[in-house]
Amino acid sequence: MAVLADPRSVIGRKLPGFTAVAERGRLAFFARVIGEDDPVYRDVTAARTAGFRDIPLPPTFLFSLELERPDPRAILAELGIDMREVLHGEQEFRYHRVACAGEELRFEPRIADYYEKKGGALRFLVRETEVTADGEPVAVLVNTLVARRLELS
């Protein structure tokens, strides 16, 4: 794919939307890996006792579902960015409510900004994603990716 002549032309672009579901088993696995020992995050009975409809997605897990977006590296290819150059710069979540296991969550990402620093040595790509369920807002994710120019072998 050709590299864009004007990288700022990506600003405002809507990326393909998609639907994702967090499964209980995966949430329990995630909780175990991060050392989360609160049973609310592993056990549906504990979650319901705590007032959730099912096991809740812990605060950062929407990021994991957002990784399921189709062809995630296409925009990087258009910008001439190699994955090895990429660092996670910033991550933000704004929550309307807690999402739970089994919910069909709709993700609508778009490119909110692109800018460069240090004469183009650092490139920043900001992606904002609205998450809804049955048309009602659940959360908004804002991801800032930083690409450094590396001498890659």
Binding site: R26, F29, F30, R32, V33, I34, G35, E36, D38, A50, G51, F52, R53, P56, P58, P59, T60, F63, S64, L65, L67, E68, M83, R84, E85, V86, L87, H88, G89, E90, Q91, E92, F93, R94, Y95, R97, V98, C100, V142, L150, E151, L152, S153
Partner: protein, 137 residues
Amino acid sequence: MTTTSVAPGQELPELALPPVSRTTLALFAGASGDHNPIHIDLDNARSAGLDDVFAHGMLSMAYLGRLVTRWCPQARLRSFRTRFTAITPVHARPVCTGVVRDVNGGEATVDLTVALEDGTVTLRGTATVSLVQEGTV
């Protein structure tokens, strides 16, 4: 946390993590869905000019999430943001801390930090939490 006890300057109970192992990075890649080989494949890291793999930033943010939700029910969490300020090398021991910066309009703003033993700050962020009791989800 009791709502009436939240005041500026209040510190959240610290969360000290065990050393980040290569096993943790491999498992976190699978659990989180972030399969970027820079975190799990030494050959890939070396091809990018690095000496070694390094931890996912989102692993540290997940640890910070634990710090917040063991202090405050998750249903009260309104926003959570971090800036990733340094990479976390393999074997590093992250320590998560938080301090209430401000209480205003039924919301508290908490400053969050993840730091390593040598003092390197790897994440800085904030969370806002509602101090108003609400229905559950």
